[in-house]
Symmetry: C2
């Protein structure tokens, strides 16, 4: 029996959107789904009891971070990631390639995977467990710009650890070994993530490297884990198509779209328009993306799973999600800023329509107070809300596909009627 199977429960008639079921050795994932990110074996500020409370189906951990801290060998010794973080459901891990990029080239050039300036609120991967303010304090932002933190060859990626300053080396075999040590259920092939600053020639070179590493990953990976291949090729149509053909031709259990997604969100949509129609029915993951509009655009184009730290990250910074009924709209990114003075005496919950544990128990005034006072409980209550909100949105999206009104839902949220 395969380590992963995928079934389309309902195909949208108007779009590529689909309701699906991914079966893993540790349980099922009903898709479309936004996979919460547990960078360092913890969805930031939340415990595994919170994940159970929110009904989180699966989570994604970061190979790069866990390799450095506490070390994947230690996690193996302790019985694997599920036992370590007390999460029984399916776990994804990424390949480490993106972090080697974002910690190196990305930081050096102040660039992210969709062309924005680093670091930014909407940037979707955890680049460090430190906040910008913390990095500024320790002088790490300055250093990073003036130093080569990454060296990439056909063999693999050398990178200087932000944790201990030592040089580390990742290649396909190492990435597969680390992910085997983690014992996650869905793992990613090792890849090189290019940036929007990379030119055609470099992006092509990197893509071919990624293809070689994809084959090596297939060879070296732990066969009890499901392996996703990663499509690269930047925002060059012929490269994306070539990469899609190659990755899709390999015996991966699923396909992920990675790498540079252009200079703006429209470029990202374009990449998906090139790539997804060329894919067969294996599950499709869009790496490191997950704002509300991105989710709708991705689902419409046939993406099954997303991962993004944004819900919990923006929560920690005071941005809390509100639905359209509570004033959320594309212009405000469906967020209120709880720091605002107007919430000082606001007795309403963050979103009066929300049934999350935070909205059921506390007022905006209380959350604003906790934020203002720097109370630690703020971070959990805010993260619970934002994560619940996104998971509820994913549920609404799934319901809409089942009820054949996905585009209606999308237009309601994005006001494109």
């Amino acid at each position: 029996m395969s380590t992963l199977s995928y079934e389309i429960l309902k195909q949208d008639k108007e779009t590529h959107a689909r309701l699906g079921l991914i079966r893993t050795r540790r349980g099922d994932i009903i898709t479309p789904y936004l996979v919460p990110v547990a960078t360092l074996a913890s969805v930031r500020a939340l415990g595994s009891d919170d994940l159970a409370l929110l009904g989180v189906q699966c989570a994604l951990a970061n190979t790069y971070h866990l390799h450095l801290k506490p070390g994947d060998e230690l996690i193996r010794k302790l019985g694997g990631l599920h036992r370590f973080m007390n999460f029984p459901g399916p776990l994804f891990s990424d390949s480490g390639g993106f972090q080697a990029f974002s910690m190196g080239f990305g930081r050096e050039h102040n660039i992210s995977k969709i062309g924005n300036i680093f670091p930014q609120e909407t940037e979707c991967h955890e680049t460090s467990h430190m906040s910008l303010r913390e990095r500024k304090k320790t002088g790490q932002t300055k250093d990073a710009k003036n130093e080569n933190l990454t060296r990439i060859t056909d063999e693999g990626i050398s990178f200087k650890s932000m944790t201990d300053g030592a040089w580390h080396f990742l290649d396909a075999e190492t990435s597969m070994r680390i992910q085997s040590n983690l014992n996650s259920d869905i793992i990613m092939a090792f890849d090189e993530c290019t940036s929007p600053l990379s030119d055609y020639d470099y992006t092509k070179k990197a893509m071919h490297r990624t293809h070689d590493w994809a084959v090596q990953s297939l060879h070296h990976h732990d066969k009890s884990q499901a392996l996703y291949g990663i499509i690269q090729g930047g925002w060059f149509e012929d490269l994306r198509r070539e990469s899609t053909r190659f990755i899709a031709s390999q015996s991966f259990d699923g396909i992920a779209v990675g790498g540079s997604l252009g200079n703006c969100k429209q470029d990202m949509h374009q990449v998906l328009d090139w790539v997804v129609p060329m894919l067969d029915d294996r599950p499709r993951h869009l790496l490191g993306i997950g704002e509300i509009d991105d989710i709708f655009e991705g689902v419409q184009r046939g993406i099954d799973t997303f991962d993004c730290v944004s819900p919990t990250r923006i929560a920690r910074r005071g941005s809390l999600f509100v639905s359209p009924k509570a004033g959320g709209c594309p212009e405000n990114k469906f967020r209120i800023n709880i720091k605002a003075a107007k919430y000082r005496d606001d007795e309403l919950p963050v979103d009066p329509n929300c049934q999350c544990p935070t909205c059921r128990s506390y007022s905006r005034a209380y959350l604003r107070h906790l934020y203002d006072a720097g109370e630690l409980s703020y971070f959990r209550l805010a993260s619970l809300h934002n994560l619940y909100f996104m998971l509820r949105l994913m549920e609404e999206i799934r319901e809409s596909i089942r009820a054949e009104n996905f585009m209606k839902l999308k237009n309601k949220w994005l006001k494109k009627i």
Copy 2:
């Protein structure tokens, strides 16, 4: 009907220890009990759902802190403290006098209420929401030593706010109004807390001021709230006895022992030996004290309730409680330091005999990793453990009084057999 009643369920035969029941307008408190501290309307790092999970009977909020942030008028407007922090059970508030002391004289002279150097791990009141490191960064420790932050007259206490730098004034009437705004169930009379550095004459003067303020507090307090009087008098026997006689002669609903408790724990025991035998059967609270040995010594001397931030504060700093069976003893203060390298691969829970949510779910290795990585989830999981541990200890103490073997339990823990 009185706003508070107290019943002795069982009087220990060997000691002054007693099993009791305090009935308040918001429910009962079975004593002896360590009241968790919710300085700024949040037991640090925990939500009200966590308090419910742990079966917390009651909590204590700080008048001084809440007056400054977010403001007691705002809390009143928002329906009071219970609604604000979503805690339905009985709430204590202190009078603000101690904080005016600890933020002023205490900080100026690096002194705490039992003579130790400020700030210290065992110091039991929250002196600030900032850590020592944070205060050092902002230069506030230096400033504090070189500046008078408090001015005390017979009228009341003027203090410079650590929050906004402005001067504030507290007197009995103001303290009663603030506590009425908070709408807590058990409030404290306004008092002046002296330090172990205060001489006889000053301590006497302050005590008389406190007695005047006690009478004013009785006059001004919201009669729907239960009011405790506070015994002062430092570590001078005649003053403590005089204060006890005076406070006990007034129509307070309960009696608290406050102020300087001498230069060492033995001095504190001595103060209790002077004071408690002079008291009638109203409930007795020992302010700001609550390490494990203190609890046993206090209960033995007839104290019913304690309050202390120590369990959650030390948790945040990496100190986690372990019972005698797991190696806890007076010498290590029943604590392990989760930062220690030896816990790196330790698969055991913090305390293998503990049934708290953290010990049921995670290993020492995981908690050490979270601490080491600065993960926010650490603070909650560690606080849950330490608070559960103390509440379970209080339960054991109550059971021992019921079973007539309190001293046996005390000797087992403190190894005084």
